[in-house]
Symmetry: C2
Subunit: 536 residues, 2 copies
């Protein structure tokens, strides 16, 4: 099924896990009026939702109830959970800086299982294939449902309609917003720490399981009712830097290992070797130069995918040639960004997560490589954030449509297989560029309508493929800037037609039922789209 991206007068869909039926949002996508027992606010348009109220207020604690010598260690996660009063239906959060090497998320949920607790809501900043065993805990009733990015097997489980609650996917900034605004009240935050002291100060950039930044766990540490730190590298107080402050921590648990270093960070990140993808990367770098975005003191962000890495490498070349230096680049950091910093091509790396060993080394030792958090970078319910101050961002997508709407969550078969990450937040950049191949597995990437809208077309400025670069007609300034350029600038419909001819027609529509299994939140907490159960 698909829904129109313009307002529609189709009737709301039938009964589902959401008690109140379906309502259309400003993009015309149908969304559940209630999500996991809470009224949902439909997406109203970019910058249209006006929040009210006050931030989540955690309980006032007192030093009288904590050890004067600062030693908050307890023997086990079970003991820590017991002292936190963990009980049925509570929310347990975790972070994903250890990525597919993480052991602490499962440790926590398994400890909850051993305590006989039921119907926990697991609230990770993202889930990874290593956490597939949560499926067993969902089947056993320990975990009720997951709110958080659902990568791989957990996304598939959700897509098949197996989860008892609706999946709720939020961007990194949206997760901060939801915690800060009290939409999700975390009962117990469990924080995996590559280094920690007995007081609970934590650092991610040193230790055998070093992962770099711990920014995704910061909101949890500030707003949760109870906070448990789990570490395999206890250091004497003070643990410096304290990315997480012990003053927010209740208990510290020492374990053998918090993660598998091989899977926490790549030994090294690699540039794509595909000639088509290299061409996309080169053209995007040239676009930045020819539009004048690449100028003294500019800024950009690119991810750790093969095209993005190649883009950074090409752009560095152009910067060197032009004698231009960036004021800052935003991570996820890789060796390519670290090289920029060390070569003096940027003053700073502002870094939310660290993807390879060079990134970890740099953030742990170079004061110009600064750890950020979703609060500084992405929270839409703050007094501004960094994302809108970035001149250009290069992102990926699973699908994009002729209205420039884009999808990063579902595949064209409708299956939910990816999280949002910082993707939505980055669209606030001065120039947001989707660098994508024009087809994958002979399925066109440019569609009439995306299966799922993760980001609205008005925020996507450029779609760059190996068959040409489409600039959003809303960005007349960019179209003017490239006039006379020999870059392959083409209307998106023209690229679409060419690819459809090549692939033998338009892609098939997703085979899904009308039963919602998850919702996609926008950066302001409203619901931008719904993911439906796949038809088996």
């Amino acid at each position: 099924m698909t829904t129109a991206t313009k307002p529609t007068d189709k009737p709301p869909r039938g009964p589902s896990r959401s008690a109140g039926g379906m309502v259309p949002n400003a993009l015309g996508r149908l969304i559940p009026s209630e999500v996991n027992g809470r009224e949902a606010v439909p997406f109203k348009g970019v910058g249209k939702h006006e929040p009210d109220g006050r931030k989540q207020a955690p309980p006032i604690r007192s030093c009288r109830d904590y050890p004067a010598d600062g030693d908050k260690r307890v023997d086990s996660l079970e003991e820590a959970f017991r002292r936190c009063g963990l009980s049925d239906g509570m929310v347990i959060s975790s972070h994903h800086h250890l990525r597919d090497g993480d052991r602490v998320g499962m440790m926590a949920l398994e400890a909850a299982a051993r305590l006989g607790v039921k119907d926990v809501m697991w609230f990770p900043s993202a889930s990874f294939p290593c956490q597939a065993p949560v499926i067993d805990l969902m089947e056993a009733g320990v975990v009720h449902h997951i709110e958080g990015s659902l990568n791989g097997p957990l996304g598939d489980y959700c897509s098949r309609g197996k989860m008892r609650g609706l999946g709720v996917l939020r961007s990194h900034g949206g997760r901060w917003q939801a915690i800060q605004d009290g939409e999700v009240k975390i009962d117990v935050a469990v924080i995996a720490a590559p280094s920690a002291d007995p007081f609970g100060n934590c650092d991610g950039s040193h230790g055998p399981s070093a992962c770099g930044s711990l920014g995704f766990a910061l909101a949890d540490s500030i707003y949760a009712e109870h906070v448990i730190v789990v570490t395999d590298n206890l250091v004497p107080f003070p643990c410096i830097p304290w990315q997480i402050q012990g003053n927010n921590v209740d208990y510290v648990v020492e374990v053998e290992s918090i993660g598998d270093p091989e899977k926490i960070v790549s030994g090294t990140t690699r540039i794509t070797r595909s000639p088509e993808r290299l061409m996309i990367a080169r053209n995007v770098a040239r676009l930045l130069k020819e539009t004048g975005i690449m100028r003294e003191g500019f800024s950009f962000q690119a991810g750790a995918g093969g095209i993005a890495l190649a883009f950074v490498d090409y752009l560095a070349e152009l910067m060197r040639e032009a004698g231009v230096k960036a004021r800052f680049v935003r991570g996820g950091s890789t060796r390519y960004l670290v090289e920029l910093l060390e070569e003096g091509l940027t003053d700073y790396i502002l870094d939310g997560q660290t993807f390879d060993l060079d990134g970890v080394r740099s953030i742990g030792s170079d004061p110009r490589h600064v750890a950020t958090s979703p609060f500084t970078s992405y929270n839409f319910h703050g007094k501004g954030n960094f994302a809108s101050m970035v001149d250009a961002v290069v992102l990926g997508a699973t699908e994009v449509d002729v209205h420039f709407n884009a999808n990063v969550n579902t595949h064209s078969d409708g299956r939910l297989l990816h999280g949002i990450g910082g993707w939505q937040n980055c669209l606030a950049s001065g120039c947001s560029i989707l660098a994508v191949p024009s087809f994958r597995d002979r399925i066109p990437v440019i569609k009439d309508e995306v299966t799922t809208v993760t980001g609205p077309g008005e925020l996507i400025d450029v779609v760059a493929t190996e068959r040409g670069i489409a600039i959003n007609p809303r960005r007349q300034d960019l179209l003017d800037a490239v006039r006379g350029s020999d870059l392959p600038i083409r209307p998106i419909e023209e690229i679409q037609r060419e690819v459809e001819e090549l692939c033998g027609g338009k892609p098939r529509k997703a085979r899904v039922t009308d039963v919602p299994v998850a919702v996609i939140k926008w950066v302001d907490g409203t619901v931008i789209d719904t993911v439906y159960q796949v038809a088996e």
Copy 2:
């Protein structure tokens, strides 16, 4: 007047600025039952008050209402105040890291005056003599009263009963607690920033008005309804390090100069030359050695007074001799602490404020010199804080009594002349030592009863004078540790008698009325004592 330090059945005092009369607290000191329209909680004993409720929750804001390019500059403080909706009776806060060189506190209050605003409550983290003109603004009705440390002329003004509200003195940690717990709701925080970017990120350690840490302003930036940054050193985004985060800031105002560098930090801090005071310092250093407190990995804190500096110098000598290294030392930092760090005699300086140029240089360049805040160091309503993890602290006092109660606020004539600073918070240390001369201006420092109780005797372990060292009888462990030592350990009463003979008798009691003019808050927000109007 004096009050007993034990419970008393004296009737409450007559009517005063506090509507509800006077009630005794757990030390038997009479305190107003209501302070500036808010019910006061009498001090209940150390660690006895159990807080409830939730932290202050600032309003949820949205990026939609802030400039996407991150430029929050407005032309003037008046304009910023106007946009904040400043109106009569509101609370304006400021910080004192610029000390007696600060220009921003007065700038803010004068801007409020120009806007015609009345009855503002000024809530500085401390006031200094350079802010004496606030007296005119109080006379003119612009400022209603001050809550915050009242040093010098403002303390004197308060002592003479001229202020319309009661003065409320809080420690650095108590100020955080009061803001965090919602006891004081800041309407507009005005933050003087030695460096800031247009987004509002601030750093104190660089720029012509560099002062080091900005920790005292951190609570204001997090919890205030509106936050204005005032800087004389605008740098391009990002201002690194961001001690104050722009994501909490509404407006940025550029001015010619935020302070007088000569008065912000001392060019250099100096050790006392008085032979008696040097003797006190030497004996305190020896005490730490002989009690075994000075051991590998220990920690200590000392202020920037002449005795404290000499103590650090003597202790460094003993550490070198013994081959002992501290894990951390707590600032206020001075060149003496910086030398320890650079020599490798401590792993870290954890620093709340920076007293001299060496301190500023070090905190701005050495990653082992770490800026702290009252949250990490002193907030009693957190999940522990650093103060109780410090092995020994060396402090001063204006008076101490035979029950080891101590006073840092009033002189023996009853006048309120000093703030609390971190003094109360530091008493949580493993060994709190008051290093004081036994008399000043021929007035004995050791009294039967202190004029004002700033800290209860049960938390004060040692009183070290040039006539001997008195160890609190509650600390049998320390008494045992020094048995056999040739340190001049003596009962406090014996030192008291000797000094009284020398000075011609006991000190005169303070000549004060029964009209309260200020209260002294304990670290948990309860009221430990009252300051009375002086008899003229």
